[in-house]
């Protein structure tokens, strides 16, 4: 299979945060740790205020700095679909990955003494199902699939206001942005 990635449609997302909740539930995360998070941006002044949302998780990047800097190999890219996997058994909790991801993705989990991150719900993917966050979204604002297909269908915007430069790690993410979010 080719490289997997996410598509997110900002223009229809209502910020209901069901993706975030589904993800936390699927991964049994304690309060305060989120593998997928919905951010809310707002600005402007009356009479032209604006607001937009952004649901983001790990982008299973083409050039991930997390896998490069991790000293144990606990983070690695799966050959067949480019998922950036996390092997908890190998992790030593050095936090190097949290210094390395421009998207703030790997989270250090104090109670485990280890890090953790989105693994694309690899168990569901391997069973031919959708990731929990994608399945949960009522608006169909989140999609997943072969990133080349997604880019063909929706374009390839990964640089919006509020996100770091996509040149750093080449994320497998494409966004349909509101006009206020465009760079």
């Amino acid at each position: 299979m080719a490289q997997l990635g996410f598509y997110y449609d900002m223009t229809i997302c209502t910020s209901c945060k069901v993706c975030q909740i589904a993800c936390s539930d699927k991964n049994d995360l304690e309060v305060g740790t989120l593998f997928r998070k919905v951010y809310n941006f707002e600005g402007g002044e009356f009479p032209n205020p604006w607001a937009y949302n952004l649901s983001i998780a790990c982008n299973h990047c083409a050039e991930p700095k997390c896998t490069k800097n991790c000293p144990t190999g606990a983070l690695y890219k799966r050959e067949k679909d480019g998922i950036v996997m996390f092997d908890e058994g190998k992790c030593i909790g050095c936090k190097m990955c949290t210094w390395s991801c421009p998207y703030g993705q790997p989270k250090y989990i104090e109670s485990k003494g280890k890090s953790g991150k989105c693994n694309f719900c690899v168990d569901l993917i391997d069973a031919g199902e959708e990731p929990a966050c994608v399945a949960a979204c009522q608006m169909r604002a989140l999609e997943f699939g072969d990133i080349e297909e997604l880019r063909k269908k929706y374009g390839s915007t990964a640089d919006i206001k509020g996100l770091p430069d996509s040149g750093i790690t080449k994320p497998h993410l494409t966004i349909h942005p509101n006009k206020e979010a465009m760079k």
């Binding site: 896998t67 050095c94 003494g113």
Partner: protein, 291 residues
């Protein structure tokens, strides 16, 4: 910040002190050996011996940074691309080579090649250490400044460490003018190692100011909340290094002894200066991230 990063602060500072002291002690030994082999050996053996336990202490501190310290050995599994793996390999290598150097130095006074090899591995450790930070996504770290600051600290701390360790052994002794001349050179190394990072500081600020929002946020921290600590850091370090240099040159013209109290004061100023500097280094690093 302190609660989270103190083990790393102690690890970087103590290992830089250990490696810097080792290199400068080997330098003293090499410079003195042709003129006075006995003094070369007597004055440096104690200090060389102290480096190993110091480096071991640094490595123990680094374990406190890990969430799963018992897995520490696994940190060597990604040498191909992780500077953290390389840092642990070179730091461990330095410690092993230190042991052989120490043993060899106790037996004979000549033969410095092992000492220089160990020094070289020590420098590779510093290089790996700086590369860890410069490969992060925090603009205040992913900058040439990290290399300059870490190598600078290694030689400044090394100068203070080497002179303190030699001073401890030479207490009450009258030293030869050859020895004093070599100690003066050690002070000059320390002075240069302090001045270069200071000169680079405006370039560093310039880079941050023209960088992305996280870089600018770091710059605002450095010139805002951390301005006073930064000024104290440089004042302490400068006064410490000037005191030490002054003391050694005065003594080499005069009675040629090493006055323990004045040396301790100067060394303490240098240590505190570097400590505050390292604190600010960790505290001012802002991540580029969503938001």
């Amino acid at each position: 910040m302190f609660a989270e990063e103190w083990p790393l602060m102690m690890f970087t500072l103590i290992s830089q002190l250990a490696i810097g002291s080792f290199i400068l002690l080997v330098l003293v030994r090499s410079l003195l050996a042709p003129k006075d082999a006995l003094a070369a050996r007597n004055l440096t053996n104690f200090g060389i011996g102290a480096v190993g336990p110091l480096m071991a202490l640094a490595l123990i501190f680094s374990l406190f940074h890990l969430g799963t310290p018992f897995g520490a050995y696994r940190s060597l599994l990604n040498l191909g691309s992780s500077w953290l793996s390389r840092e642990i390999l070179t730091a461990g290598g330095f410690l092993v080579l230190w042991f052989f150097t120490y043993k060899a130095y106790q037996k004979e006074s000549s033969g410095n090649s092992l000492g220089w090899l160990t020094s070289f591995v020590g420098l590779l450790t510093i290089l790996s250490m700086a590369s860890i930070y410069s490969n992060s996504i925090r603009p205040a770290w992913s900058n040439a400044h990290t290399y300059i600051a870490f190598f600078g600290a290694t030689f400044v701390l090394g100068c203070a460490g080497a002179i303190a360790l030699i001073g401890h052994i030479a207490k009450g002794q009258t030293l030869s003018s050859e020895v004093m001349a070599v100690l003066k050179k050690v002070c000059y190394v320390g002075a240069v190692a302090l001045i270069i990072p200071l000169i680079y500081l405006p370039v560093f600020f310039g880079n941050l100011n023209s960088g992305d929002p996280a870089a600018q946020a770091s710059s605002m921290l450095l010139t805002g909340s951390y301005l006073i600590p930064l000024i104290i850091r440089w004042a302490f370090s400068l006064v410490g290094v000037i005191m030490l240099t002054n003391l050694i040159s005065k003594q080499s013209k005069g009675v040629k002894t090493l006055p323990a109290n004045s040396i301790l004061l100067a060394v303490a100023l240098i240590l505190v200066g570097e400590f505050i500097g390292r604190y600010v280094f960790y505290a001012s690093a802002v991540s580029i991230m969503v938001g």
